[in-house]
């Protein structure tokens, strides 16, 4: 899912830097106001937790393993705006320290995984769960929130890849950046997520939320907001 350097042209990565910057600034301002002096250690904690979620390989049927991005569960546990900052910080550290995702693509990766994914996950959870107290419904809502969040993120990545041949071509008509047109990039990104990675994300979101509901229901932001 992490877009490396070289796949997106400046026509795409510059506006996405701008869009991510706007969301990040709003999130920082909002949380600084809400959390007052505590916002720095709190957000660092959320970011570290977001990074650590990706360290857990989950066994899936067929003998293979995969890991979740975690933006969905962070949005449910700590709120979507906290997730925007937490996952953005992780994207920056991953790109700079581990070479996971490109430096020019930080804006695009943040937009896909740190902006779109938490809001979609949070929105889907609220939509399906509503004010229900049924554990079954909450579990389904959690699974679908993780599933939808990462699928939308993959869809956006597919679109960003797919529009590159339309935006930048050489004199001979050869694409200068990601070479696959929309009709290839979009299904390639979305289908593999619908069938595998979104299931992992959904399962992690559901399992973790269920654990918290059973043991520490008071810490779940998505449910606190409901009660408020």
């Amino acid at each position: 899912m992490h877009i490396p350097d070289g796949y997106l042209g400046p026509q795409t990565y510059v506006p996405l830097f701008g869009a991510s910057f706007v969301f990040l600034s709003v999130a920082l301002r909002k949380l600084k106001k809400e959390l007052a002096t505590k916002h720095v250690p709190y957000l660092a904690m959320a970011a570290a937790f977001s990074f650590l979620i990706q360290m857990f390989n989950i066994p899936i049927p067929g003998g293979t393993t995969g890991h979740a991005v975690g933006a969905g569960i962070i949005a449910l546990l700590l709120g979507p705006w906290t997730a925007v900052i937490a996952v953005s910080v992780v994207m920056i550290i991953q790109a700079v320290v581990f070479g996971d995702g490109g430096i020019t693509a930080i804006g695009a990766n943040c937009f896909n995984m740190a902006v779109a994914m938490p809001f979609v996950s949070y929105g889907v959870f609220k939509l399906i769960n509503g004010s229900s107290r049924s554990q079954k419904r909450t579990s389904i809502a959690a699974f679908l929130s993780g599933y939808a969040g990462i699928t939308v993120s993959a869809l956006l990545t597919g679109i960003e890849f797919g529009i590159q041949p339309l935006l930048a071509q050489g004199a001979d008509g050869r694409p200068l950046y990601a070479p696959y047109p929309l009709e290839i990039a979009l299904p390639a990104m979305v289908i593999e997520h619908l069938l595998l990675f979104s299931i992992i994300e959904g399962a992690v979101t559901m399992l973790l939320l269920r654990y918290f509901l059973k043991n520490e229901a008071d810490v779940v932001y998505a449910l606190k907001v409901r009660e408020a």
């Binding site: 070289g6 720095v40 660092a44 979620i53 066994p59 546990l77 550290i93 070479g99 399992l207 520490e216």
Partner: protein
């Protein structure tokens, strides 16, 4: 003299797989997680060690290196020909050489990730099914061409000149970007890089969040690694996938609790040291003559790369 150490202690390291090949003790998720975590810790340590060497790029101010990295990553993304990419690759190699970076380690990582993210992903686009053009390497000849919805499969399938040029271009661009960022990282400690982001007017509070996150990550990565090793050492029989997933959910929740507790402790420590909601990162010292000259040389070289 006979070895008195019990055989089970010298047979394998704690991280080696158990019951290899029998297929009864399926713990690949533990092995993969341990490898993943060990990789994170290794990268951190290797970077710290190489950034503290007394060599060319290590002596340059982090602000110059961060601006150099950003400027050159943009140049790499703008260049459209292989000659320019090769020249940039040459410059990066020279800088790595003069900075006494472990070249084998640097280029092993660059080649691996460049192959995965550059070549492997882009390779199918070399075929005329994706990129039209002159076929230079025919692979398959079908009886007739096929059209399915918006997809068209031509009668003759092969690698085109235009497609292979595109793959080469993309691979070299990915490899150059990786080499550049790994080089800057190998010659600069992360706290210095984060501090240097101040020149881009990134707010101090955001830089502080990144710094704290980086520290938390290393503390908790070790905790998570210990968790996996403890789980592995206790495993004697096969555990089902569902049971493993429940265990992971429990451990993730535990980590969440630990990070929250650490956050409270850090906040109290901050308050006891007089923190009053104002994050201030220490100011940099003035740039030295070496920083200015290196910065100007790299800038001129960059402009030449943009111009050619």
């Amino acid at each position: 003299m006979e070895n008195k150490i019990p055989s089970f202690l010298i047979a394998r390291s704690s991280a080696a797989p158990l019951a290899e090949g029998r297929g009864r003790l399926r713990i690949s998720f533990i092995e993969k997680s341990i490898q993943h975590l060990a990789g994170v810790i290794n990268i951190g340590h290797a970077q710290w060690e190489s950034a503290s060497r007394d060599a060319f790029l290590q002596k340059i101010d982090a602000r110059v290196k961060v601006l150099f990295l950003l400027f050159y990553v943009v140049i790499i993304s703008l260049k459209r020909d292989l000659v320019s990419e090769s020249l940039i690759a040459g410059l990066i190699f020279m800088l790595a050489l003069t900075s006494r970076v472990d070249l084998m380690d640097l280029y092993k990582r660059v080649l691996f990730w460049g192959f995965v993210f550059g070549f492997l992903i882009a390779f199918p686009s070399a075929f005329n099914v994706v990129t039209q053009g002159e076929i230079i390497f025919p692979v398959l000849n079908l009886e007739k061409s096929h059209t399915f919805w918006i997809y068209h499969i031509p009668q003759e399938i092969g690698i085109t000149r235009e497609g292979s040029l595109g793959v080469l271009m993309l691979t070299s661009r990915v490899m150059n970007s990786l080499a550049l960022s790994f080089l800057v990282l190998a010659t600069t400690s992360l706290p210095e890089i984060i501090r240097a982001l101040k020149v881009l007017r990134v707010p101090d509070s955001f830089l502080m969040i990144i710094t704290l996150t980086f520290k938390y990550i290393f503390i908790f990565t070790k905790t998570v690694e210990d968790m996996f090793l403890a789980k592995k050492s206790r495993l004697a029989v096969h555990t089902g996938n569902a049971e493993s997933r429940r265990w992971i959910a429990g451990r993730l929740a535990f980590i969440f609790r630990r990070t929250r507790m650490r956050c409270e402790e850090i906040f109290k420590a901050m308050l006891s040291r007089g923190f009053a909601d104002e994050v201030r990162i220490y100011k940099f010292s003035r740039l030295a003559a070496l920083d200015w000259s290196a910065g100007i040389c790299l800038f001129i070289a960059g402009v030449i790369f943009l111009w050619i």
